[in-house]
């Protein structure tokens, strides 16, 4: 009786709101003493009082995964389904940060895409500290904006799977959302103005809040992007670092490839980070000198690599291609009959994998002769574990 959802509550995302929390976790919450004692017969008003008493965020902890009071209150909100204005009040209040995070969490679970971005992004400016309970029972330090970032970018938080929301750039392209203006943008523009006087202008991506770099974009779009000032560099720096490592293997288009080369140069000068930046710079210079050649090479590489997702996977795929093709050729005796494109690719593939093999013997064991073990090692490498012995 006490665990039934309010009969006047609407369906959220097509289901009983309490079903947003999965079955095992839900039963754990119902059996929890905090739920039974404190959360019985709560209304929206009394819930606020309970929320003000919260002192940590978190999912489940301990060996038997007990839920935190934060979880119980989220569940209670799902059960009674308060009005949207109440939830917005929770979020807007400045005094109690845990109430804010509770409201934000609830809105992320139940709100529409536009609402989520609209109400949660201002919370990025809140830098207050939060206490987070980890899975092993210890407390960790986190901040409000970190939690909001997790809510907006990841699809799992506090042991609850978040409903899917559209990416920000999708909403912007439909026009329901304005491009993101960060609070630090003005500071960055000043810095940009100073630096850009000495530097060459480069192409850059328009929106810093694109989280999904790896979606396929047409090369035309890359090329057409005008040279704009990149005022959102800082936010993308994280993505950039990731991209830079991947870019040695992954090309998404000629235009972007060229851009990366130049951007690496500029980044090296500006940020003075790790050594691989120099490597990138040399590469960039090379590319600039032999533009046409590199474009052709990149085009071929791009076509092949656009199918691969990760370095190890591309390598294993090269091997498969290489092995398969060689056998195929032997069997069918084809020397030049295959379409030029394909052959060119394979020729390239073989050449480049050979080069790689000569340069660096694989350490993560993905070149093991036994395919099962090679596959297992590939999975282990992707998880960050050492290969099988």
């Amino acid at each position: 009786m006490a665990n039934r959802t309010d009969p006047t509550a609407k369906n959220i995302h097509g289901t009983n709101p309490q079903n947003l929390v999965e079955k095992i976790l839900r039963s754990k919450i119902y059996q929890n003493t905090y739920w039974k004692e404190q959360c019985f017969g709560l209304t929206a008003e009394t819930l606020v009082d309970k929320a003000m008493e919260l002192d940590h965020v978190g999912g489940t902890f301990g060996g038997n995964r007990r839920p935190t009071p934060f979880m119980c209150l989220v569940m209670k909100m799902l059960q009674i389904q308060p009005e949207k204005d109440i939830v917005v009040e929770f979020i807007k209040n400045e005094d109690y940060k845990y109430v804010r995070v509770l409201g934000a969490f609830y809105l992320r679970l139940t709100g529409t895409d536009t609402d989520v971005y609209q109400y949660l992004e201002p919370l990025y400016n809140d830098y207050r500290k939060l206490r987070q309970k980890l899975a092993d029972g210890r407390f960790a330090l986190t901040h409000v904006d970190e939690v909001i970032d997790e809510l907006l970018t990841k699809d799992y938080s506090c042991d609850i799977a978040m409903p899917r929301i559209k990416k920000r750039w999708t909403l912007e392209s439909i026009g329901t959302l304005e491009p993101r203006r960060s609070a630090l943008e003005d500071d960055f523009e000043e810095e940009e103005d100073k630096e850009d006087d000495d530097q060459i202008m480069i192409d850059s991506e328009p929106d810093a809040r694109e989280k999904d770099h790896y979606r396929g974009r047409s090369p035309a779009r890359d090329r057409d992007r005008d040279r704009k000032r990149d005022s959102h560099r800082q936010y993308r720096e994280r993505d950039y670092d990731r991209d830079r490592d991947h870019d040695h293997d992954r090309d998404r288009g000629r235009g972007r490839d060229r851009d990366r080369g130049r951007e690496r140069e500029r980044d090296r000068d500006r940020y003075r980070l790790r050594d691989d930046r120099d490597h990138g710079r040399e590469r960039g210079r090379e590319r600039e000198r032999d533009d046409r050649e590199s474009d052709r090479r990149d085009r071929d590489r791009c076509r092949r690599r656009s199918y691969s997702r990760s370095r190890s996977r591309s390598r294993s795929r090269d091997r498969k291609e290489r092995g398969g093709d060689r056998d195929h050729r032997k069997r069918h005796g084809r020397s030049s009959a295959s379409p030029r494109k394909h052959e060119d690719e394979n020729g390239n593939v073989r050449e480049e994998s050979k080069k790689k093999k000569q340069k660096k013997p694989k350490e993560d064991g993905t070149d093991h002769p036994d395919p099962e073990i090679a596959e297992a090692n590939r999975i282990r490498a992707s998880l960050g574990m050492k290969p099988l012995k």
């Binding site: 282990r380 998880l383 574990m385």
Partner: protein, 73 residues
């Protein structure tokens, strides 16, 4: 390299190849890639002993071919 069998008695039986010096946490990650559940939702037990994440298989004396019980959190 040893191979461990995990059975959840509801139809999911998973064979996982791993090293002796892998921790239970690593084993859970490997199981997660094979079953599709999240690694932190998995609980590995042997009768009533819940296996802890930071201890290696070798220390739990888990040998090749041994069966473990798969539960969910």
């Amino acid at each position: 390299m040893i191979e461990v069998v995990l059975n959840d008695r509801l139809g999911k039986k998973v064979r996982v190849k791993c090293n002796k010096d892998d921790t239970i946490g690593d084993l859970k990650k490997l199981v997660a890639t094979q079953t599709g559940t999240r690694a932190d939702k998995i609980r590995i037990q042997k009768w009533y002993n819940v296996y802890k994440d930071h201890i290696t298989l070798q220390d739990y004396e888990i040998h090749d071919g041994m069966g473990l019980e798969l539960y969910y959190n």
